[in-house]
Amino acid sequence: MNVFVTPAMLGQVVISGILSGALYAMVALGLALIFGVMRIINVAHGPLLMLGAYATFFLYSALGINPYLTVPVSMLVLFAVGLLLERTLVFRVVDAPELSSLLLTFGISIALVNLAQLLFTSDLRSVEYLAGSWVVGPLALSKARVVAFTVASALTGLSFFFLQRTRLGKAIRATSQNREVAMVCGIDVQRIHLVTFGLSAGLAGAGGALIAVIVAIQPEMGQIWTFKSFLVIVLGGAGNYPGALLGGVLLGLIEQLASLFLTTQLSEVVAYVLLVLILLVRPQGLLGGRQT
């Protein structure tokens, strides 16, 4: 228990919270997109992020590519993986009861984690790049986290621009609002599902690439991200894409504040209690659900 909290410490915590919040928001936006469009919670979202982290690790360690330049490559690789998964497996359970889609993506998640364990072993890997911090007044900003924040914010902004302004983005939002009407308007809903799944996996891949520089990489690193991304969605309101931004930053802040006032060990417990409380008091999320 930490009793003495100086303003500088509080400032540090708020900044760190916002820095990781942008990353949470980007990864959660991927999960929210699939949920909005296909009404599926992709339990394999975190393991896809893990694959993105490995992609960056191997590009960096084998070819010596700057890890930040691997972000688009990770995204592309995961976009392809996403298309493949949707076309072979996931499309079969779009209209099935929820039980089927949850169990199917759970099965995919287990298969991906254990495949990674077989192929890459469970050794901890790390991308040693951009260590250290920038010191600004009393605050120390981890360089890797600042860059991750910047890239994640840019990619999230780009995603929103795509959703708001382009024809394909509008078609995605239309499908998310009402699939039948979208179909009547001539939107190829099957294709929208495919593209959305790819995009979502791509965002997970970008998240993995950025996280690779910050934390150790191992096959089981992903699962907790499925949970955290879902928490972000619940905080912001399911089906509410801008809500994911608010939810991401909130989760980042709450985790950091919990580690300041309690202990780092309990920050996940605090996040969990928060999920249960939100579901109890305001299940539609802070911004309310389903406005796209």
């Binding site: 919670i41 287990i110 364990q117 077989l118 879902f230 309990l266 249960v276």
Partner: protein, 308 residues
């Protein structure tokens, strides 16, 4: 429809054989059968909530772990006899289920599934944090006691009880209401079923078995630590067993537990890294190709009653 006399006689024969088995069997045989009993308890319990109502629990091992810690703490710190501690383990798991189920099961959709996905990590963190009570990462040792044979009987009775409860539920109006929720929750509500309350009852029932099994396993092994009682692999295994055997049936989880446990012991133990991967593949294959499992196929082919 009441069970046929032949089936009842077979069940009685198997129960009797298993009851006298410790007199003749080897230590390894008794221990393995005890494990099969445990998996039957876990798989059938998961079936009660997820197979019957369609609400997927991705963290059922949390109840096993909660029961294990409740039981172990009562035995080691308060000196309770293990039989009573096992009951307390079941009760502890039910209290936890109430705390999670009440907020999450009022809602439709994936909230419950994901809340259960995170529960395991949270309990593991909590157990590590409250070191004074739980021993933290160092684990908790119980006083030495060789009670494998009595535990064999209690675990066997639990497996029988959970199976019996499943049978009673599936053939009752309560069970029909649960299955209505699974098939169409809105229609169930329109027919006047209090869905939230029914889901919660099923969930509480499904938590008790793993709680008892956890406490019994803790006593049997004499030592527990967070990694040994909260492994994600246990949840995966019980889900695979139920899906393989046939979810929503009485004997599917039993069939899945026996077949997959034997397969695991004989074949997969030699390829330790392939078998979790195989579990993932089995889940995908069963969901897509035979959603009602092996028993579902048999029911259709041999026109067996739906209540087996």
């Amino acid at each position: 429809m009441s069970p046929r006399p032949a089936a009842l006689a077979a069940l009685a024969a198997v129960t009797l054989a298993l009851a006298v088995y410790p007199e003749f069997g080897s230590g390894y045989g008794v221990r393995s059968t005890l494990q099969v009993f445990m998996w039957i308890v876990l798989a059938s319990s998961w079936n009660l909530i997820s197979g019957l109502t369609g609400y997927v629990s991705f963290g059922h091992v949390a109840f096993f772990g909660a029961g294990a810690y409740t039981g172990a703490i009562l035995i080691a710190k308060a000196g309770w006899p293990w039989g009573l501690a096992a009951l307390a383990g079941g009760l502890g798991a039910c209290v936890l289920a109430l705390a999670i189920g009440y907020p999450c099961l009022r809602l439709k959709g994936p909230y419950f599934a994901i809340a259960m996905l995170g529960l395991n990590e949270v309990l593991r963190a909590l157990v590590s944090y409250f070191e004074d009570l739980t021993g933290g990462g160092n684990g908790l040792s119980l006083p030495t006691l060789d009670a494998t044979v009595p535990i064999y009987y209690v675990m066997g009775a639990s497996a029988l009880l959970v199976t019996l409860v499943t049978y009673v539920i599936i053939t009752s109006r309560f069970g029909l209401r649960l299955m209505t929720i699974r098939e169409d929750e809105v229609a169930a509500e329109a027919m006047g079923i209090d869905t939230a309350r029914h889901k919660l009852y099923a969930f509480l029932l499904s938590a008790a078995g793993p709680g008892v099994a956890g406490a019994l396993t803790a006593r049997d092994q004499g030592y527990i630590e967070p990694i040994s009682v909260f492994p994600l692999a246990t949840t995966i295994t019980m889900i695979v067993m139920v899906l393989f055997g046939g979810k929503g049936t009485v004997w599917g989880p039993v069939l899945g537990a026996v077949v997959l446990f034997v397969a695991q012991e004989i074949v997969w133990a030699r390829y330790p890294y392939v078998h979790p991967l195989l579990f993932g593949v089995i889940i995908i294959a069963v969901v897509l190709l035979m959603p009602r499992g092996v028993l579902g196929l048999l029911q259709i082919r041999y026109r067996l009653p739906r209540t087996i």
